[in-house]
């Protein structure tokens, strides 16, 4: 069941940024994989917090501090429900996916990865899910193994069994590729990883806003995502981890809030989640992230998925027949992301001309350089959709793309 055009219109009304002209043309925002726009409820949550409540949390005995703390902790509970974690103490607030992944690499990783160990990634990881592991591997003398990617932009599934072995201590992969939109079969990989005793981290930056996530059902060990890609504010992120893992991990950032008591002789650390939340967090942002979760949950996942895949189908059908155009990522399982190149034309040229026609897409390597090396191109043009994207926008995009290509050929 998809969302009716009327419903999409009323959703769009909640996004002030969408109703503007860019370079004299109505804005068609198709850069949602980079960051989504924010509904009024999120913007107003920030506004309301700063106008009525703003106070530092957890340690204050006064009214505002109490209010702020309750609101902050409410979001933790909302996130718990959102990804179906067992308990809210398993939800750590960070500043984003990148921060979450680095936290795991520099705590769990430093503690558990040794010389000779292997860390398994895929060839379509975001730099944020490559570089922290490279840094760790270099420090520890471990090695990085890579799940190859097919021409269709899927994991080469048959390679996985031979890549997983006794030396594999950690697997870290994304649920959805930001560059291609491929929805990866993480459930299978999680099972296989556990079967050989490895832990597995899921980079959910590109999935949490597009379909339901259930960490208990997935049974992943860690899950990371960003607020700003799920209609929430910038500077917010989440690390989910299983309690027993989080408890065994050493802290990362030292400071206020993450301690039980401090003296120059002996410092003891706080319980989870606080152990990993040193310093004043992004209080306003976390509270507004709760509003973003509410925004998503007011819709149904089946509606969101149906709408976004209709957009994908529509756009794919229209552009795949264009002369010299190649779509990267042709899996049957995709979110609303189309990455493409046109023979003999630089992606930057297409992006620039689309922009001049009001269409915002991303061009370049999308922080997945190894993937483009594999495809033998320097990058792509990427159009990515969100729940507020309309079919009319797809038409505008297709028309603008036709015009751009004809100018550049």
């Amino acid at each position: 069941m998809t969302i009716s055009p009327a419903d999409i219109e009323s959703i769009r009304k909640k996004f002030p940024v969408l109703h503007q002209k860019v370079n004299g043309r109505p804005l068609v925002y198709l850069d949602n994989a980079a960051t989504t726009q924010k509904p009024l409820s999120v913007i107003e949550s920030l506004d309301h917090y700063y106008k009525t409540t703003n106070a530092n949390i957890h340690r204050g005995a006064h009214h505002l501090a109490h209010q702020a703390t309750v609101m902050f902790e409410n979001t933790r509970e909302k996130i718990r429900t959102f990804i179906n974690a067992r308990e809210s103490a398993e939800i750590i607030f960070t500043s984003g996916t990148t921060d979450s992944i680095n936290l795991v690499a520099q705590t769990w990783g430093r503690m558990n990865i040794q010389a000779g160990d292997e860390i398994l990634l895929s060839h379509m990881e975001h730099h944020s899910n490559i570089v922290p592991w490279q840094m760790l591997a270099e420090e520890k003398g471990a090695t990085i193994q890579v799940i190859p990617v097919t021409e269709q932009g899927e994991w080469q599934i048959e390679m996985i069994d031979s890549l997983l072995n006794k030396k594999t201590k950690l697997v870290a992969v994304n649920h959805v590729s930001n560059a291609l939109g491929t929805i990866n079969p993480v459930a299978t990989l999680i099972e296989k990883a556990h079967a050989i005793g490895a832990k597995i981290l899921i980079d959910a930056a590109q999935s949490v806003a597009h379909f339901a996530t259930d960490v208990q059902k997935l049974n992943c060990d860690f899950l990371c995502f960003s607020g700003h890609k799920m209609y929430g504010p910038t500077g917010t992120g989440v690390l989910y981890g299983k309690r027993e893992l989080l408890e065994a991990m050493p802290p990362w950032r030292g400071g206020g809030e993450m301690i039980k008591s401090v003296s120059f002789e002996k410092t003891t650390y706080n319980e989870i989640p606080h152990k990993f939340e040193a310093g004043t967090p992004h209080i306003a942002g976390v509270i507004a992230l709760g509003a973003a979760v509410d925004f998503i949950q007011e819709m149904s996942w089946s509606e969101i998925e149906a709408h976004e895949s209709e957009l994908l189908l529509d756009a794919t059908e229209q552009i795949q027949t264009m002369d010299g155009l190649r779509i990267f990522g042709t899996s049957a399982n995709k979110t609303g992301v189309i990455s493409f190149g046109v023979e003999g034309i630089h992606p930057y040229d297409i992006g620039t001309l689309l922009d001049k026609q009001g269409v915002a897409v991303r061009t370049g390597h999308h922080c997945t350089e190894p993937l483009w090396n594999r495809f033998g191109v320097p990058g792509s043009v990427r159009a990515s959709f969100a729940v507020y994207t309309t079919k009319d926008e797809i038409e505008l995009f297709v028309a603008a793309l036709n015009k751009s290509i004809s100018m550049l050929k």
């Binding site: 340690r59 005995a61 109490h66 703390t69 309750v70 902790e73």
Partner: protein, 141 residues
């Protein structure tokens, strides 16, 4: 009197107060009255550490199976609140304590003191009292 009846009694008492300051005056008085815990029980083991004020709690089972709590806090308002909670739960059966719904704190407008974020140890103390209830009712079987 049952836990429920005691709670109603407390709520009624508080209903006469016109403003916050009167309520707190009363709580402070209660804090001053609470029979101090026996010094021997003011141990690290019996300490419930809030970030700000500390609470010591000791439980004893009487011959009839009912539980006696004594407690103390270094902050007098916390101590007054502790006195109220003890008044509601003292001398009750382990089962009644384990299953008690302490709505009175909310009813008299002091629920903020129960928030774990309040760091005064009160919420942890109530949790601990109920754990005693559970422990003693299991032991009794």
């Amino acid at each position: 009197m049952s836990i429920e009846e005691r709670q109603q009694e407390i709520v009624e008492e508080f209903s006469v107060f016109g403003d916050w300051m009167e309520k707190y005056e009363y709580i402070i008085d209660l804090g001053k009255e609470l029979p101090l815990i026996d010094e021997q029980y003011k141990t690290e083991d019996n300490l419930i550490k809030g970030c700000q004020s500390r609470v010591w709690l000791h439980a004893d089972q009487a011959a009839d199976g009912r539980i006696q709590f004594t407690a103390d806090s270094d902050a007098i308002i916390t101590k007054g609140l502790v006195a109220l909670v003890i008044r509601a739960l003292n001398d009750q059966t382990p089962e009644a304590i384990a299953s008690a719904d302490l709505h009175f704190v909310n009813d008299i407008g002091l629920s903020e003191h129960l928030s774990p974020t309040r760091s005064n140890g009160l919420a942890s103390m109530i949790k601990q009292m109920k754990l005693y209830g559970v422990a003693y009712s299991v032991k009794d079987k």
